[in-house]
């Protein structure tokens, strides 16, 4: 009972105000993302309404805003183009189902393999993609569009210097709409982009045969949508955690995203996820509780119902200005300044994540490359923690090798090369008790060393192999050996 009160009703006034600010910013975004996906604006608007309202109850991170997003919209383009809207709804529902499963099996814990650099790359790639999606509205258009976009940006960033009481993106939209309608400038408007909602969403079961063929069409899309949706949601949840200095329930968030997407799919909406920019706006405007998310969704629909006609007259230039703001606000500018000071490998991971994402328009692939690359760099770095020293004993008859450090696939070659097989010697003693053999590669490298010495007719004795190979067991037998902290240190 206490948490319900705390999460819903402890911050009512601020939550409602923030919800209104967010709703006003959600409208242009939902329209813009629908256009990216190649569907009518109403699909994105219905999705934003459904997702925001449902996630308010089911989500694990109070105060986070989820709705139709650019990251998800980019993944649907070919599905919509090749197969049509019904398939999109079905894919959205399936995405939700997959996300619920992911939440149950705690897939969110895999997020710990996504390093800071990958997250930064993800965010930057997202910002770049959102910006690039605006380019069609800025290329090959009459000159008034440029003037209006610039004026829109001027209002968005200039007005807060005068007053912070009203949302400046809203004022920008209103001013530009009024001017373009009264002066009669002939520019593209939202109405030109497709249908806007005129009624609240209704239950709509996708009209598709329940066959394996349908599944085989939508499953790959749903899988990517699931991954990207959860990635962005969990990243955003962490950002909101940091901003508010509170914790969130990540598994509940995964399941919640799933439920929200299922609802969206059955209400004629597209798949969505948490939004970094909107969540920052929400927190900035004072939103903290679930009420802010709920009210954002409800205000969104209410505004559309009341202002439907006016929304269709909003010039696209105004939307572009708002989206450029979102893109600028989402981009992590620090990461550019840090390129010089951060380790080259981190910067490389970030840049590769961005480049792969921007070239494929698929954040999942970008993140995967980033994660692989950071794993690669890590293995490389840890592989260098290996030192091998030797001294001859027994009046030159025996040589003692002492191995210190980590032996695994990335360092196995160096391990083998550190032995002098050309030396004419009777016996060799290899002391590995202060080394760690992490995998099969390491053990076979040791075998190889032993065989090579034997081939020279040299006696080989290996000391301390039991201690060294304890790390190979997947569940470390810590009770009779090291504390975790000691594992990477020589014994």
């Amino acid at each position: 009972m206490n948490t319900i009160r705390q999460e819903w009703f402890s911050n009512i006034r601020s939550d409602l105000l923030a919800g209104l600010v967010v709703a006003l910013a959600l409208i242009p975004e939902a329209i813009a993302f629908s256009i990216i996906a190649g569907v009518d604006p109403k699909v994105g608007l219905y999705a934003s309404f459904c997702i925001a309202v449902v996630i308010a109850f089911t989500g694990g991170r109070p105060g986070m805003i989820s709705a139709a997003t650019g990251a998800m919209a980019l993944l649907m383009v070919t599905l919509v183009k090749d197969h049509g809207l019904e398939y999109l709804f079905a894919a959205t529902v399936l995405t939700g189902v997959l996300q619920i499963i992911a939440g149950w099996i705690r897939l969110g814990e895999l997020m710990r393999f996504v390093s800071r650099s990958v997250v930064t790359g993800f965010v930057n790639a997202l910002a770049i993609l959102i910006f690039m999606a605006q380019l069609p509205e800025l290329i090959d258009v009459p000159w008034p569009v440029y003037v209006m976009t610039a004026a829109g940006l001027g209002i968005i960033y200039g007005l807060p210097l005068l007053t912070k009481a009203v949302p400046s993106p809203l004022i920008a939209i209103i001013v530009l709409t009024v001017i373009s309608v009264t002066v009669g400038i002939d520019v593209r408007t939202v109405g030109d982009m497709g249908d806007l909602p005129t009624t609240p969403p209704v239950l709509l079961v996708p009209n598709l045969p329940l066959t394996l063929e349908t599944l085989s069409v939508i499953f790959p899309y749903s899988l990517t949508l699931m991954v990207v949706g959860l990635l962005e949601s969990l990243m955003t949840a962490t950002i909101v955690d940091d901003l508010t200095d509170t914790n969130s329930d990540k598994s509940r968030e995964c399941v919640g995203q799933g439920v929200a997407n299922i609802a969206s799919g059955f209400m004629g909406g597209m798949a969505g996820c948490a939004m970094i920019g909107q969540s920052v706006i929400n927190i900035k405007s004072g939103g903290r509780g679930r009420l802010s998310t709920l009210s954002a969704g409800i205000f969104l629909l209410a505004l559309l119902m009341f202002l439907g006609d006016w929304v269709s007259r909003i010039p696209m230039a105004a939307l572009v200005a708002v989206m450029i703001m979102v893109s600028v606000g989402t981009f992590n500018w620090d990461s550019i300044r840090n390129l010089r000071s951060h380790p080259a490998s981190s910067s490389m991971v970030m840049i590769v994540t961005v480049m792969v994402t921007v070239s494929t328009h698929d954040l999942a692939q970008g993140v995967l490359s980033g994660v692989l690359l950071s794993g690669f760099f890590f293995a490389h770095k840890v592989g260098r923690i290996l030192s091998i020293s030797s001294r001859s004993e027994d009046e030159g008859r025996t040589r003692n090798y002492t191995i210190l450090g980590q032996v695994f696939f990335a360092s196995a070659d160096r391990f083998v090369q550190s032995f002098d097989f050309q030396e004419v010697i009777e016996a060799v003693r290899i002391d590995v008790s202060r080394a760690h053999f992490w995998d099969i590669t390491a053990v076979s490298a040791l075998d190889k060393v032993v065989m090579k010495f034997r081939r020279e007719g040299t006696e080989v004795e290996v000391l301390g192999l039991n201690e060294a190979s304890a790390t190979m067991v997947d569940r470390f037998a810590l009770h009779d050996k090291d504390e975790p902290a000691d594992l990477l240190l020589p014994h």
């Binding site: 402890s10 920019g277 706006i281 620090d334």
Partner: protein
């Protein structure tokens, strides 16, 4: 060596703080236990104070917002912390003037209930105000936390109802069952209290073995050197015990605490709660 348990007095910045401190000091003196005054700062991170509704995000929006929120919260916390420290020091002096043996103060972040549960290990007796800061607003008889706390922590709780009056006689609400027998035993275990006469009062439906139970209570307490008076008052326990407190001019009520089944008390109501509500004197609730 066993760590000596302490008396934990929970204070907030309300008029009750002084009463709580006085009773806690009295208990510390009587039981010769160290006293700790605890002030809990609930940071209310779920509440925001933003006035920025511009909805615009520019370069470094996230970093700037994080810095700004951190800065604001830091300033706010520093103020609250300093105010709390001064307040606690005032109470400490008050307790020391009342001859409590060793008085310590502590401020902690968190919520009342969780914090009290965490401390349970080292606590012999909790002292709480019946109403706190929220009383002015909620106008409820019990501070909103008292009931929940007494359900959660397994230690005696002294609930303070008003200004300090040196207790001159105590009354045990007794029913012969395990919980209230435990009350009697616990009192008997503290012979330091035996300069206070004790009334053991049984009430409720006529029970045939009431005499036997009362006899046991009388013997137990007599052995520990207490002056005991027992009585059986048939009728509604809430009314009878409240009347008995008035007639016998008891300054302290001792009773068994809430039954462990929240479901049962949800349906039947809690007798403990009724008594706690009705009683105008400080009350010690004791758990099994």
């Amino acid at each position: 060596m066993l760590k000596q348990r302490k008396i934990l007095a929970c204070v907030d910045q309300s008029p009750y703080a002084d009463y709580v401190a006085d009773y806690a000091a009295w208990a510390a003196r009587k039981l010769t236990l160290p006293l700790e005054l605890l002030h809990i700062i609930d940071r209310h991170q779920e509440i925001s104070v933003s006035t920025d509704h511009s909805g615009a995000i520019g370069v470094d929006a996230q970093e700037n917002l994080l810095n700004q929120l951190t800065e604001e919260e830091g300033t706010r916390t520093r103020q609250v912390r300093e105010r709390g420290r001064v307040f606690l020091n005032g109470l400490r002096q008050r307790c020391e003037a009342n001859e409590a043996i060793s008085v310590d103060t502590r401020q902690r972040y968190g919520q009342l209930l969780g914090t009290l549960e965490e401390q349970q290990q080292d606590v012999a007796l909790y002292v709480l105000g019946r109403r706190g800061e929220s009383a002015e607003r909620t106008r409820r008889d019990l501070g909103r936390h008292v009931e929940m706390i007494s359900r959660q922590v397994r230690r005696p709780i002294l609930t303070v109802a008003g200004e300090f009056v040196e207790p001159r006689s105590a009354l045990i609400a007794y029913d012969g069952k395990r919980m209230t027998r435990r009350c009697v035993e616990l009192i008997a275990q503290n012979p330091a209290l035996n300069d206070i006469p004790v009334h053991v009062i049984m009430s409720g439906k006529l029970a045939t073995d009431a005499d036997k139970h009362l006899q046991w209570a009388r013997n137990t307490l007599n052995t520990a050197g207490f002056t005991v008076e027992t009585a059986y008052l048939p009728g509604d326990p809430e009314q009878e015990i409240t009347r008995a407190i008035g007639e016998r001019q008891a300054d302290l009520l001792v009773m068994g605490a809430y039954s462990r089944s929240p479901l049962r008390s949800l349906i039947l109501g809690s007798r403990t709660n009724d008594l706690l509500r009705a009683s105008q004197v400080p009350t010690v609730t004791i758990h099994l």
